[in-house]
Amino acid sequence: MTTHSSSEDSVGNFRQIDLTQELITGEDVIVIRPGFKIDRLGLPQVWGSKDLLMFFVLRSIRGRYRPTALGYGWIIFRPLLLCLVYVVVFGNMMGVKTDPIPFPLFVFLGISLYLFFSGTVSDTAASLINNAGILSKVYYPRLIVPLTALFVNLMDLLASFVVIALLMVIYGVSPNWDLIYFPVFLGGLALASFVLGLILAAHSIESRDIMMALPVILRVMIYGMPCVYPVHMVPDRLITLYYMNPMASLIQGVRWSLWGEVSPPTWSVLLAVVLTLISGYYALVVFTKAERTMVDSL
């Protein structure tokens, strides 16, 4: 019995193949090779797959709310219910003052932003593991997977802002010209949350512990940013430390631009920008590295 053994034979046979032929080239040729380069991320391909991104986003929104009796109403009810809890506990029982902004409006904005932050981070972080099935069967730009998580949460946030706009009209709270900074701070918050989620997603493949600890950490973090209490309640000696958290200064920035609460100090905004950009690059690097072979360990 011959047990065929590997290299010599196959190398022998290998030479029979015509390898002299030029490798195919051209714009439309897909090159598959090992190695890590940032351009592997294929941002143009991600842009080319925007139809696919839209499909996934619409599908997840529909899938999330379709089986419920209240349907899309939950997009609004969820923050409203949480808001109610905080209005009772913080506003009535502890007497937190947020003048001149009415406390319910103050808290609703805070809750919406917090839900967006924690939703984006946890959904993005879990996106690869949750989609392991399809990822191991078919190829499409991998960045689409976490991006879907980001956009689904953005959609929820947009719906909340419709409610906030209504509440602002009802309470007679009007914005000033600083409103032009609103999209900047909101975009910053989205980017920072996404970057954090992306880093966790890349690491979640090797260490699943992240996914266990994450919900707890996210729950605690609501107290680390100005969501359910105004920033002036933070003790003075802690305020510098408090603003080192990019999320805190970004959320305070949203508050400031929307209706003129205290603005975050400039240094903290700059710090948030720098931190987000650096970790953004790091996120793309680790995600690209993980993407190459993540299917092997999913």
Binding site: S6, V29, I32, L52, F55, Y139
Partner: protein, 391 residues
């Protein structure tokens, strides 16, 4: 000369098995031209599926390079590029969108896909409620109808009913004939490879063993499985079921008078001989053996079970042979896959599926110099025709 659409150079993929690195494929190089149907053969675990996974970009290679021109459709394992929570219709849309098609283009093909798959009204049910057969039918339909220039198919014939498997083979044939589609086709069925592919490659122990026209490769594969003396070494083959108390370790063919042969001339007698190894402490009086021959489309042609004919078998030695005698081989010339199992005391001890095959060679079965073609079935029986008039 048709242009090259896939070129692979020195491709290798290493996995980490515990602390040990393991090369699933290595130093693989070949070219595929437009319209080729490339069969990929090899034993279980040789690296065929890994290669398709790398070529369809699901996972990266560790070394080497592959270049591909054209949109790739992939059908891996029992075929689920599908999202279980989506309906069949949504999955068709999803797969089309992944391939970069516009919703309108997909809509235009939708009816064809539904018709071909035969899932009918279930198209609006979620895929997770589908049976595995429905799922694989829909996957094949999607892959075959959507706009792919290169189709990679892994063992599509392993599931689904025979009628559908035939439909798939026919469709694949048609795709390459009329649309110049290129197909990479992994199968254990030598018959399917032979009838579909114009070229083939054999992967053995992670390395490319032989590449060339289908006949040459099948011959190389047969020799690989059977060794120079005409027998197959089964001791190393993987993917088996059963407790392993008794294992098949080899297979070869003999004529009724004991001469070793490589192929059975159609209509002659043959002894199919399995070598076995036993780890039984004592003897067993309750041994049931079965041997099934499987045709090119995955259909079982006939089976021979020892308990049906009340063969009383006693196994009391650590090594020996199981012999199945067929007095007259009733099959058309071709390659037939072997499914064999051994039950000891009603427990499955070993089962091999498709790891070896039996070759039937051309012979004048009816003594007329004629044989039916495959359309009339693969099985040869003795028969007579008469015509009687009535008043």
């Amino acid at each position: 000369m048709r242009d090259t659409v896939i070129s692979v150079r020195g491709l290798g993929k290493r996995y980490q098995l515990g602390n040990k690195p393991y090369w699933a494929i290595r130093e693989i190089s070949f070219d595929v031209r437009r319209g080729d149907v490339l069969g990929i053969v090899g034993r279980n675990g040789a690296g065929k599926t890994t290669m398709l996974r790398v070529l369809s970009r699901i996972t990266d290679p560790t070394e080497g390079e592959a270049r591909i021109r054209g949109r790739i459709g992939t059908l891996l394992e029992t075929g689920t590029g599908f999202h279980p929570e989506l309906t069949g219709r949504e999955n068709i849309l999803l797969n089309g969108t992944i391939l970069g098609m516009r919703p309108k283009e997909i809509q235009a093909k939708l009816q064809d896909i539904v018709d071909f798959s035969g899932v009918g009204k279930f198209i609006d049910a979620r895929v997770k409620t589908y049976s595995s057969g429905m799922r694989s039918r829909l996957t094949f339909a999607v892959a075959a109808h959507l706009d792919t220039e290169i189709l990679m198919v892994d063992e599509v014939l392993a599931v689904g009913d025979i009628a559908f498997q035939e439909k798939c083979l026919k469709k694949m044939d048609q795709l390459t004939q009329s649309e110049e589609r290129t197909i990479l086709f992994v199968s254990h069925s030598m018959g399917a490879i032979q009838s579909l592919c114009n070229r083939a490659l054999l992967i053995e122990n992670s390395y490319l063993h032989t590449e060339g026209d289908t006949g040459t490769v099948i011959k190389a594969y047969t020799q690989l499985l059977q060794g120079p003396d005409g027998g197959a070494d089964l001791s190393q083959s993987q993917g088996r079921r059963g407790s392993g108390v008794v294992r098949f370790t080899g297979l070869h063919l003999e004529t009724l008078d004991g001469k070793v042969i490589e192929a059975i001339p159609a209509g002659t007698g043959v002894r199919v001989i399995f070598d076995y190894e036993s780890k039984l402490d004592t003897f067993s009086d309750d041994v049931v053996l079965s041997l099934v021959l499987v045709g090119s489309k995955g259909h079982r042609l006939f089976g021979m079970r020892s308990d049906i004919i009340r063969s009383e078998l006693r196994l009391d030695r650590p090594r020996g042979r199981f012999i199945c005698t067929i007095p007259k081989m009733p099959l058309l010339p071709g390659n037939y896959d072997v499914v064999a199992s051994c039950l000891i005391d009603r427990d499955l001890a070993d089962k091999i599926v498709g790891v070896c095959h039996i070759a039937v060679s051309d012979n004048d079965y009816y003594g007329t110099g004629r044989l039916q073609n495959g359309n009339f079935g693969d099985v040869l029986v003795d028969y007579a025709w008469a015509c009687e008039g009535q008043d």
